[in-house]
Amino acid sequence: MNLHEYQAKQLFSEYGIPILPGKVASSVEEATANARALGGTAWLVKAQVHAGGRGKAGGVKFCKTPADAKEKAAAILGMQIKGLTVEQVLVTVAADIGSEAYVGIIVDRATKKPVFMVSAAGGIDIEEVAATTPEKILYVPVDVRYGLPTYDAMRMGFFLYPDVKLARGAAKIMQQLYAAFMASGCSLAEINPLVVTPQGELVAVDGKMVIDDNELDRRPEIAALRDERSEEPSEVDARNANLTFIKLDGNVGCVVNGAGLAMATMDLVKYYGGEPANFLDIGGSSNPEKVVNALRIITADPNVKAILFNIFGGITRTDDVANGIVTATRANPLKVPIVIRLTGTNEEIAMKILQENGFTASSDMDTAVQQAVALAQGGK
């Protein structure tokens, strides 16, 4: 789960990391009022969406009067960034910027540890820095049993700043960021940029946090930060039904059990010249209700011209899936053709249920995918 910038910075602040005063707004009036309430002489109005490159897309604007803030907020609220509508803006006091550094921490698959990445060349082009001048980034893995020791934090501090006072300040911020990362169940946390003001003070100007979805059950206060307005509605619907669903642009609606097989099914649709309309994993449990929900979500997409079920029953009982198909289509008759591939646990019972209700099913994946692609393209 992604947090918005204002949420991440609020958490940073709770762990002692210096941030600039700011307030989130959902309307133009609120944005203007925020600028007035914050005081100062210059502000930033920043789009709060789960997309990178906000600045480049015109979602971050500088303004010098509350009236100007109103105008900028009016331009940003409602705009589209990478397909997402901006519903909220953060109004913050603008800082004078002396230098910009990058400080990030991510769970690294290779070392199997949280790893810090820091660079004095922070700001919006950090990806390019990583790609073209990797020597400008210092990587420091952390053994979670000991936490981030001061000597490692200081090593990173001196990598960013030759001045011992700044190095110490940065080291403290890294330890605070590490504490926030661990306590919030993050898979990623970053400060970009970490700014040194002309007065020599360190401040986290922008921040990002990604929470491991598996942590949310035991961290209700973090789970409550989820902003469903900023997500694709069908994906929210699917998550609430315990399905993993990602909407794509094609016309073959796919219902599969297991993530690997679901991806392989999408690949096979493409292999036979079709385009998948979605990734949908109904998971391992046997529950006809899941199938009903899956069909409802898929048929809500007007692009879908054919539906493909690919079920390999292990834990999943294929007769439960067959019952789900029958129940769902009885309540809401399908307007598009359906191709069913079922094999595995209770396959004979499933086939019988389907036949008695006027469906045909095959046990071969390639045959089923080819049929679905042909049907989606208007063939037989």
Binding site: V107, K112, N214, A259, G260, M263, A264, M266, Y271
Partner: protein, 289 residues
Amino acid sequence: MSVFIDKNTKLVIQGITGRDGSFHAKQMMEYGTQVVAGVTPGKGGQTFEGTVPIFNTVMDAVQATGANTSVIYVPPPFAADAIMEAAAAGVSLIVCITEGVPVLDMTKVYPFVKERGVRLIGPNCPGLITPGESKVGIIPGRICTPGPVGVVSRSGTLTYEVVYQLTRAGIGQTTCAGIGGDPINGTNFIDCLAAFEKDPHTKAIAMMGEIGGTDEQEAAAYIKEHMTKPVVGFIAGQTAPPGRRMGHAGAIISGSSGTAAEKLEAFAAAGMGIAKRPIDFVELIKARL
């Protein structure tokens, strides 16, 4: 012959009285696995299905029965502790089936098991099966048959698909290993490839990877350097849009690394056979046996 498990495997099941644990305990017993003990705190002294003794702790179970392998079916919040408990109790192999274990929990568990020299498979995996001898986990027994192919995979149902296609074509397996799709898992492709290389009965290997991470690329480099046996590979997620999570926490494309194209390139550079579809394994493996 086989890798990791065989007919001498003595299994303790953590979470044997739970919904999933009890169902799969029966399946494993029917398959012929030596299930010597179960663990459910508070139910020590009872028996499962009238034959398998239940203990309060893994330590008690190991001391009383000599179990050398553990399989874990406990819910995600307790899985990390269950793994450490098994490692501390002295089993040499732990298979963790549980899906949804927080990755930060695994950053603590991983060094704990490594320092004790214990092999961990998973979490979030279907486990192991050595056809005709032993099954530890949830891979359906009837889709497997004994034979010369080692199977290793990051996914569950995709493993079943490939194994099913192989078995239908009359090609059996030494051992099938589902290593799981989480960002931090106990055993990677290289561990399994090394084991299959050493196993005299394995003549060829089928390997199913996914987008995300660099495990497959590292495995390809290992194959090029160290393997004498032929390996056929597949990558799921060739058409997945970048940056989107596809169910497995592991299947995230980060930056330029982890794409299907990059992994397939590494496979080609290692001289591996490349299956474009699951069904292609059949012909590619046949040609290499």
